[in-house]
Symmetry: C2
Subunit: 160 residues, 2 copies
Amino acid sequence: MKDGEPTRPQLRYLEDFKAGDRISSGSFEVTAELIRSFAELYDPQPMHIDEEAARQTIFGELVGSGWQTLAITMRLLVDARLLGGTPIVGAEFANLRFHRPIRPGDSLKATAEVLQTRPSRSRNDRGFMDLQVTTTNQHDETVLTQAWTLIVPTRAAVHN
Amino acid sequence: MKDGEPTRPQLRYLEDFKAGDRISSGSFEVTAELIRSFAELYDPQPMHIDEEAARQTIFGELVGSGWQTLAITMRLLVDARLLGGTPIVGAEFANLRFHRPIRPGDSLKATAEVLQTRPSRSRNDRGFMDLQVTTTNQHDETVLTQAWTLIVPTRAAVHN
């Protein structure tokens, strides 16, 4: 590490987590500009890029792409140091449900609750962690729920 | 519609689809700049933002965020007019598996195969369509698979 670089957060291992652990994020402010800039590149549908056209859709107003809600949730959990300095690497994501759209002015938060940890059957240097991830808005309304299975190194990985 | 606006693609309804239908997309070129600009905003982890730091991770090189792979897949299917002019609105997404990371220089394509359509039990103006969505790279390697359940209007919606 070079002089002057910020200290890296501590690596965390599978053994550091147990069922019931909860990680809560800070907040992320959604703007119309952010909704449009994401949508122009990744989801150019009328309800995400044009306020006038959005009024003609079932949403009745400009709303963010669900894929952006997912991306923002990731940002919140990266900033919350879900795994400390250990990279967040997913094995599988399931049961993604978009309960409400996100809108300009929304302030989103995410929480991740550990459901279980389980060692890999084939390798002793890693295992899996199942998490329930919930994204809420400033009214404490749930906007997105999903189930994550992450690949997390075990302490054995340090010596391999 | 104003003069000079492009003609909107035809709306498609639940009755227009059947199991086995396949929709194939064009292609999307992944660049290092695109990987970094997405990651800086939504997934600022070393393997997504810095080539040097990425070499120290299990990926060994700069790779795109999985959430960006998802977003690109959406863009491919929006451009492919998956539902014609009908908005693509998801009810649930499941079984997301990231088989390979995306890298600078990759050219991605997506295909969506209709597994089944089913009417809503509570409303006659809409139903659900289950799709298997597969994203591949220029080597025909699968990078992402997922199961989509979309909310699709029925022809009854036209008269409600």
